[in-house]
């Protein structure tokens, strides 16, 4: 836990809603500079895990650690250093693009001049130039999503928690988002994201497969493929097959 290179860490993390165990004794550890993808069917517990790591939800048992701080108790010490992108396109519909960024920038103690500078950079990066004065509810879905990511990146956080950042995007836009992610990663940012596009798992440094609140497999995309190749008769399984066989195995394993 004292290892300074660990950015996100879950130890036996558990969260229940009534009788449902959304996250069930889940442990993982993500080091500085990784892109880690959480993959799993909807309802598997990805969002709940991310919310606990961001300090928004309190675990029933186990610990969540972000940049060395226990969450949610220690969140005040790290709140400036991480960025969170909720699954909803979390922007103010009735504010302009620039005003959305202005508000979040001010919450992070950025000066107005610095916010203007960053707004220019981010709008260019997100290909939203010329949309600065446009109200967010007049943006297309993809544009809104890019604004949402811009709000997350605004204060230049070291650690990024992105909950389904590419959901609903068309394939070319998804590619662009991933280019951003790799670029950010190249600049030393650590990224934990969730996705249910299996193709995207290929683009992660490491993948964690989540099912019913538990981490059922973990490793680089290649390692997961090798594991499946050994278990089954497939020689070159794609990510979809990896997912189906591993989750199927988990179901079968659970039943036996």
């Amino acid at each position: 836990m004292a290892d300074p290179s660990v950015v996100f860490r879950a130890d036996e993390l558990t969260k229940t809603f009534g009788t449902l165990r959304a996250v069930d004794r889940l442990s993982l550890s993500i080091a500085t500079g990784e892109i880690y993808g959480l993959v799993g069917p909807s309802g598997a517990g990805k969002t709940t895990l991310i919310r606990m790591l961001s300090g928004l939800a309190t675990p029933n048992a186990g610990t969540a650690t972000l940049l060395g701080a226990p969450m949610p108790a220690g969140r005040r010490t790290v709140e400036h250093r991480f960025g969170y992108m909720p699954q909803e396109r979390a922007v103010y519909r009735d504010l302009s693009v620039a005003e959305n960024l202005l508000f979040f920038g001010r919450l992070y103690a950025m000066s107005r001049a610095r916010i203007r500078e960053r707004t220019r950079e981010l709008l260019e990066l997100m290909q939203l130039e010329g949309h600065g004065q446009q109200r967010a509810d007049r943006l297309s879905g993809g544009e809104k999503q890019r604004l949402s990511l811009a709000c997350t990146l605004l204060h230049e956080p070291d650690a990024l928690l992105l909950d389904e950042p590419t959901i609903g995007l068309d394939p070319s836009l998804r590619r662009e988002f991933w280019n951003h992610f790799h670029e950010l990663n190249g600049r030393g940012r650590t990224i934990l994201l969730s996705t249910h596009y299996l193709q995207e798992a290929e683009w992660c440094g490491r993948v964690g497969l989540i099912q019913r609140g538990r981490l059922i497999a973990e490793g680089t995309p290649d390692a997961l493929r090798r594991q499946v190749a050994q278990q089954s008769d497939r020689e070159h399984p794609d990510m979809e097959e990896v997912f189906l066989i591993l989750t199927g195995a988990a179901v079968a394993g659970g039943a036996s």
Binding site: R76, E79, A90, V91, L95, S96, L107, A109
Partner: protein, 371 residues
């Protein structure tokens, strides 16, 4: 607690209001419309009640009764020489009252005083009255009693009236403070409620809570924004009230603004509290009548609390506007300082403290555990 974060929230709320032109118009037009609408329809002064006056005695004394009635705006008096059947007249001609002064009324009236109470017959006035509208009926009775009182010298009783709090306070004068409170409470509660529910629906709430902003800062931001809105709305109400209805303001307008803003703060707290009970905007709308109806009906705004059935009166004291009305009326109409109306002042203060404290507890919950 950092001022820049409080101001960031306040600025954001104001920008949102500014961008939504319909809401903006609603906020500014509502106080004016409410003042005009309530002002005209509840000006309280009933006028043009059709009354037939039949004077069979025809003396100076009866003439002066007629004069008093005619001077009263409430009545549209028609003088008739005689009447056979007052009831028929009332039914056929659409009068709401027939006042008949019989022959010998004047002599009996004076004789009664001259001879002493027990010995002589009194002068009598026949009043035939349409009781179907109690308000009109009581206005007629009051008007007639006033006319008789005006007989003055030698009259049976003289009432020595000292009018406290201004020359003559009309209904509308004490209505304006209530409108101010109502409009401010309504807008602050409803818009805070909608705004926070919207944050939950859109997910911006999550973004806000992972940021460095504290709950208290968040609430204070809303308080500042809606405090300013309340100030502007009060100005609109006062401007319309003074220019259209020439309302009377005995007290200090500055104190009135302080009290209105205080009330707005409590209303922001109430809106925040209610937001915890709604997950969607349509659920939030359910609360609107819950806020509006008790305020209008039970706060003593339209009729005094004494006019509310005794069983319901305790409810009146649960309605925040009841205290705001007392406080603002004391400040504006009576010209008192807020603490000179301790019940109203304390009521508003308790409302503010209670809602703001509970609101921050509630925010912690809706911020943390969702899904």
């Amino acid at each position: 607690m950092k001022a820049y974060r409080i101001l960031a929230v306040a600025e954001r709320v104001l920008r949102q209001l500014w961008h939504d032109r319909r809401v903006l118009a609603f906020m500014l037009v509502l106080p004016a419309v409410a003042m005009l609408l309530f002002g005209y329809s509840f000006s309280g002064d009933i006028t043009d009640i059709r009354v037939a006056f039949v004077d069979e005695d025809d003396t100076d004394l009866t003439a002066s009764i007629l004069e008093s009635l005619q001077a009263d705006d409430a009545f549209d008096v028609t003088v008739l020489d005689s009447v056979d059947d007052p009831e028929r007249l009332l039914l056929d001609s659409g009068y709401q009252a027939v006042i008949r002064i019989p022959d010998k009324f004047t002599s009996l009236y004076y004789a009664h005083f001259a001879m002493g109470v027990a010995t002589s017959a009194q002068g009598t006035i026949d009043l035939t009255l349409d009781e179907s509208d109690p308000q009109i009926a009581s206005t007629i009775k009051m008007g007639l009693a006033d006319a008789l009182m005006d007989l003055g010298e030698g009259g049976p009783v003289e009432i020595d009236t000292r009018e406290l709090y201004g020359v003559e306070v009309r209904f509308i004068d004490s209505f304006a403070p209530a409108i101010m409170g109502l409009v401010v409470a309504l807008i602050s509660t409803v818009l805070t409620l909608l705004s926070i529910v919207r944050e939950k629906v859109d997910g911006t709430f999550s973004r806000v809570w992972v940021s460095p902003v504290r709950r208290a800062e968040f609430i204070l931001g809303y308080v500042i924004a809606f405090g300013l809105v309340a100030l502007v709305q009060s100005l609109v109400v006062l401007t319309v009230g003074m220019s259209v209805f020439h309302i009377l303001i005995n007290g200090s307008i500055a104190w009135a603004f302080v009290c209105v803003i205080l009330f707005a703060v409590g209303s922001v707290g109430l809106g925040t509290l209610l937001s915890a009970l709604a997950q969607t905007e349509s659920q939030a709308i359910v609360f609107f009548p819950l806020v509006i109806l008790p305020s209008v009906l039970l706060s003593g705004m339209m009729w005094p609390i004494q006019a509310i059935p005794r069983v319901l009166r305790p409810l009146s004291y649960l309605v925040p506007l009841t205290y705001s009305n007392r406080l603002l009326r004391a400040v504006m109409v009576k010209g008192l300082a807020p603490w000179q109306e301790p019940v109203g002042f304390a009521g508003v203060l308790v409302f503010v403290l209670l809602t703001i404290l509970l609101a921050s507890v509630v925010l912690r919950q809706s911020a943390g555990e969702r899904e």
